[in-house]
Structure formats: structure tokens, C-alpha cells
């Protein structure tokens, strides 16, 4: 097709003098039966879209969008993770050959080559063959790429305890928790060192929040005495009766909120 400055027009700039155009093959030349797009085919597409929408809405109703607590830059223990479709890039940086000293390789060169290759695919694979088996290099590179992405995503996601992460980061509006500071249990909570790590309203400070936990009275008694995770043993220093009051207070506050 003739293009650019040399193009001649018949007075009207919309109509070229030279009527040679790139005309794609007419659909009627393809084998088989064609169907009118409007309205026949569009109606079928509409039905597929409707079925898809119903499934999609079921998903949104069954699984409400997650929301964690408000951003807290002081939370040094938080495990940062990108959204799932970036996990493969994030995981790549964890390997020795692609992270640390080789950061530029893992962050720019490897993804750059992969996505650059994808972008320029038509110029790298110039042959006229379209069947995947007739262009083995292109096909195998793509299969390798897809397998790598799946594998890296799996490696990144498999080692995360997603349920524990969600449970430890429930959305609690700041200042919305008001615990019963008059109760006997709160006096015990205050008298022992609990308040220093778990906050004046059980909202958590250096330690996790005690609101939104799922422990029984006996389990809380055990944790207070023996510790759990980063919490050392021997934090509780009081009588058995006070321990009972403390645990019942924490369970009661959890039932209220």
C-alpha cells in the first residue's frame, strides 16, 4: 500500500487517487458458515457475558474483599507481600543469583528480557508458520516462561500462612475499642506487664492485639504463664484466681467486639 507524503488525493483528502489498499481476507472466504455479528452473534456473546457475571457476583458475595488494619509504619514484624500477580517477580529477587549483589539482574535484566521478548515477539518470530509445532523455539520459550511464572508464584505463596496473616491483621478502626477498665480482670491486666506490650485497650503495641483472637479461657491462661511465639514465659506474676479473672476478661472482651 502506498503511504506517506507521496500519497495522491482526488481533491478530497479522504479519498486517495491510488485505490490500492491492504484488504484483509473476506470472512466469507474462510471455510464454514459465517454468522452476522449483529444481532445473532452478539446475542450469544451477551449470554456468555451474563453467565460469567453471575459467577463473578457469586465470588464477590462468597468472598468479601479483604481489608487489614490501617497502615502502621511502626509494625516492624509485618511480612510485606505484593498482590498475587506480582509474587513471581518478588520471588525471583529472593534467589542468590537474582537478588542481593545481582539485584539488577533479577529486577531488570531477566524481567526486561522476558517482557521485552513478549513485546517484540512478532519481530523475533518472523516466519510465516502459525502452528505452535511448526515454530518450536517460540513455543518452547513461552512454555518455559509460563512454567517459570507458575513455579515462582507457587514458591512465593506456599511458604506463607495466609490464614494466620489475615487473623493477625483484622481491620479494627483506631480508637474504636473501649474495654471495660473497671473490671477485676483489667486490674490484673494492668498490674502485670500485659499492658506494656498489648496496649491499654488490648489493641496491641509491640505485641499483637488481643481483640479478634480465638482462644479459650484455659488456653489464654496457659499463654499468660508459658508464653507463645515471641512472648517469653513467666510474664504473669499473680495468684491462680487473678489468672482466671484475666483470662475471663480477655475472652469476654473478645465476645463483645
Amino acid at each position: 500500500m502506498k503511504k506517506g507524503k507521496g500519497m495522491q488525493f482526488v481533491g478530497d483528502s479522504r479519498i486517495t487517487a491510488d485505490k490500492k489498499k491492504f484488504i484483509p481476507k473476506d470472512y466469507s472466504e474462510y471455510p464454514g458458515k459465517t454468522e452476522a455479528f449483529w444481532p445473532n452473534f452478539l446475542l450469544k456473546e451477551w449470554l456468555v457475558g451474563a453467565v460469567f457475571l453471575v459467577g463473578f457476583l457469586c465470588l464477590t458475595i462468597a468472598h468479601p474483599a479483604p481489608l487489614e488494619g490501617p497502615a502502621d509504619p511502626t509494625d516492624a514484624a509485618y511480612l510485606p507481600l505484593p498482590d498475587w500477580y506480582f509474587l513471581f517477580l518478588y520471588q525471583l529477587l529472593k534467589y542468590q543469583f537474582a537478588g542481593g549483589d545481582f539485584f539488577v539482574l533479577g529486577a531488570i535484566v531477566i524481567p526486561g528480557l522476558a517482557f521485552g521478548g513478549l513485546f517484540l515477539a512478532p519481530f523475533l518470530d518472523k516466519g510465516s508458520n502459525r502452528r505452535p509445532v511448526k515454530r518450536p523455539i517460540t513455543t518452547s520459550l513461552m512454555i518455559l516462561g509460563v512454567i517459570s511464572v507458575f513455579w515462582l508464584t507457587y514458591e512465593a505463596a506456599a511458604h506463607v500462612d495466609w490464614e494466620a496473616k489475615a487473623a493477625a491483621n483484622k481491620p479494627i478502626p483506631p480508637g474504636s475499642i473501649q474495654v471495660d477498665t473497671e473490671s477485676d480482670g483489667y486490674a490484673v491486666y494492668e498490674a502485670n506487664s500485659c499492658i506494656q506490650c498489648h496496649g491499654g485497650n488490648l489493641e496491641g503495641a509491640s505485641g499483637p492485639s488481643l481483640i479478634g483472637i480465638d482462644y479459650s479461657v484455659d488456653e489464654i491462661k496457659d499463654i499468660a504463664v508459658n508464653g507463645i511465639g515471641d512472648m517469653p514465659a513467666g510474664q504473669f506474676d499473680g495468684t491462680e484466681e487473678e489468672l482466671q479473672q484475666l483470662a475471663e476478661f480477655i475472652v469476654a472482651e473478645n465476645e463483645d467486639h
Binding site: W38, F115, P122
Partner: protein, 224 residues
């Protein structure tokens, strides 16, 4: 009545050729799942567009409540999620749509790739499609910060650290995105909001227009 309105407009601006360009064409058998069920692979592009429409509409409604400010962003999302009628559904559609659109784009890309449909004369359209993929990833990246919860904040921190590590342009890129060489805070949120709601959608609409015009111009690729 409709016909009269149509005729009235058509008489003045001649919209019939436009209508013919958009709707008046034949769909060949090899892309029609009614004839060959395996042709359902041709649905992925259309479904990507469908989810994009869902994203645009749900996003427009989300901005009716969302406040791009570090004091109120999380509270506005929490309010939307817990107090507003159907707010949970609208936010859920936008949240899950962001994932589904990536899945559909991925499947559509694989279909075009393995069928070799990017070959001459469709090289340009393939490149525009890959750019749409990048813009979508950018939308996912910037949208992830907006609820301003812990996962959003810390994921963005990591993203900006990675951007900063790029040689030569890293620090400038980080400052451009975060609004400050050091602080990830109020400026970062407003910048991500602006990028997510204005800059990238504008780029997306332009690219999608080019994508669709080229499809109509070149037609769909033939059977293998």
C-alpha cells in the same frame, strides 16, 4: 420513535457508515463456539473487555466514598465495606475484578501467542496488546495501595525499594512515584490515586481504542 430519532441524526451527521463499521460484519465459523466448542478460547479477549467495563463502573462508584488521604483513606474504605448499602459488593467487584482481568488477559495473550495470530499484518496490534497488559499491571500496583491498610502500605514500600534499586533512574523514579525521596506517606497516596484514576485509565482507553480499531480494520486471524 427510535427510528425517527435515528433518521433525524443520520440526516444531519450521517452515522450509518459508523454503525456499519462497528456492527455490520460477519463472524467466521472458526471463532464461533456455537459451531466448534474449542472456539471458546476466542472469548477471553471479550471477557477481558467485559471485566474492564466492570472495573471502570465499580471504580467510579468507589470514588463516591473513597478519600485519598492518609487519615481518612482506610476509614472511608472501612465505612464503605461495613456501613454503606451494597458497598461490600461494589468493592468486592473491584477487588476481584482486578484479579480476574489479569487472568483473562493472561489467557487471551496465550491464545494469541500460541495461534501465532501476532504475525504480519497484526504486529502493531500485538504490541498495543502487550502495552495494555503493562498498563493493567500498573493499575493493579497503584490500586493496591489505595485502601491504605498494612498489606497495601508494606507492599508499596517494597515496590518503591525495588524501583529505587534501578541504576541511574531509580531514585528519580521513586521520588516521582512516592512524592518524596524518603517518606512514603500522604504524597505517595495522592500520587498513586492520581495515577490509578486519571493517568493509567487515560492510557488504557487510548490503547483499547487502537486495539479495537485495528481488529475491525484487519479482521480476525484465519483458522490455523
Amino acid at each position: 420513535m427510535m427510528q425517527k430519532i435515528y433518521d433525524w441524526i443520520d440526516e444531519r451527521v450521517d452515522i450509518t457508515p459508523l454503525w456499519r463499521d462497528i456492527a455490520d460484519h460477519e463472524v467466521p465459523e472458526h471463532v464461533n463456539p456455537a459451531h466448534h466448542f474449542s472456539a471458546f478460547v476466542y472469548c477471553f479477549g471479550g471477557l477481558t473487555f467485559f471485566v474492564t467495563v466492570i472495573q471502570v463502573l465499580s471504580g467510579m462508584f468507589l470514588t463516591m466514598y473513597y478519600v485519598p488521604d492518609i487519615e481518612n483513606a482506610w476509614r472511608s474504605v472501612y465505612y464503605l465495606q461495613t456501613e454503606v448499602a451494597h458497598g461490600q459488593i461494589v468493592r468486592g467487584m473491584h477487588h476481584w475484578g482486578a484479579s480476574v482481568v489479569i487472568v483473562m488477559l493472561f489467557l487471551h495473550t496465550l491464545r494469541v501467542f500460541f495461534q501465532g495470530a501476532y504475525k504480519k499484518p497484526r504486529e502493531l496490534n500485538w504490541m498495543v496488546g502487550v502495552l495494555i497488559f503493562f498498563v493493567m499491571l500498573g493499575l493493579g500496583l497503584t490500586g493496591y495501595l489505595l485502601p491504605w491498610d498494612n498489606k497495601a502500605y508494606f507492599a508499596t514500600l517494597v515496590t518503591l525499594e525495588i524501583a529505587e534499586g534501578v541504576p541511574f533512574i531509580g531514585e528519580a523514579t521513586k521520588t516521582l512515584l512516592a512524592g518524596d525521596p524518603e517518606i512514603v506517606g500522604a504524597q505517595t497516596l495522592t500520587r498513586f490515586f492520581a495515577i490509578h484514576v486519571f493517568f493509567l485509565p487515560a492510557a488504557l482507553f487510548g490503547l483499547m481504542a487502537a486495539h479495537f480499531i485495528m481488529i475491525r480494520k484487519q479482521g480476525i486471524s484465519g483458522p490455523l
